[in-house]
Amino acid sequence: MTLLYAFLVGGALCALAQIIVDLTKTNPAFVMVSAVSLGAVLSGLGLYGPLVEIAGAGATTPLLGFGHSLVTGMLEDVARLGWFGLFTGGLRATAPGLMAAIVFGYLMAVLFNPKG
């Protein structure tokens, strides 16, 4: 069942982003940046957590999930370490994705050449 919700929620978020790009003629990079910030705000409002419960990777895979992870990590570390958690939690929670982007990004750029 979560598979269906992952498809619907992930698809809907992407469709929404596409509509914004088409109607406002915004550069996709700006929409990607806005999506992360929007994810952080929705997470802070307590709305994104339930969405992850329902849609699983359908909510964590779009970039909004990155914003959600940053906030969740910060709040977890604040609960553990106090205010300094604001400086440790965000990147701790998102480290797997970022480390993968650095390692595999570098590797692929070295191994492959642009097509066309």
Binding site: T60, M108, A109, P114
Partner: protein, 149 residues
């Protein structure tokens, strides 16, 4: 003179606009929906497999890493840009698109060297995403912890 020219330009813009095909907003949205949905479903399949063996947070983290790997690999093969041309934000918004935004410029600028080319350009789009993500998350967390307790 200037006013006349502005008017001419407006006239021209209106005329030019009427020759542009209307943006197929609905069709683009549908393509983004399908491809974005399929990518997220694939991620959910991977998560389902991992979460049977690992704690939930770790399974989510590993799923993201794997999706980043897939996005980076498909970009290297030249496949992801094809998907991106078809699906727009359906390919850009998932974390695989984040990986694509890292590999594409890194590959493109390889001729400028491995320091100022590859590694400096890797974060051309990913950098802003990380910076604004971190700053807005910080703001949101401060509000959550100290203002709306």
């Amino acid at each position: 003179m200037t006013r006349a020219r502005t008017k001419d330009r407006e006239e021209y813009n209106r005329l030019a606009q009427s020759f542009h095909p209307p943006r197929p907003v609905l069709r683009n949205a549908l393509k983004a929906f399908l491809v974005g949905g399929i990518i997220c479903t694939a991620a959910q399949v991977i998560f389902g497999y991992l979460s049977a063996r690992l704690p939930r947070t770790q399974a989510f983290a590993m799923t993201s890493s794997l999706m980043v790997f897939l996005g980076a690999f498909l970009t290297g093969l030249g496949v992801y840009d094809e998907i991106g041309r078809f699906a727009g934000m359906g390919a850009a918004l998932p974390i695989t698109g984040f990986a694509n935004s890292v590999v594409s410029p890194a590959m493109e600028y390889k001729r400028e060297g491995f320091v100022l080319g590859v590694s400096a350009r890797m974060f051309q789009v990913a950098g802003p995403v990380i910076v604004y993500g971190s700053l807005s998350a910080l703001l949101v967390s401060i509000l959550r912890v100290y203002v709306f307790k």
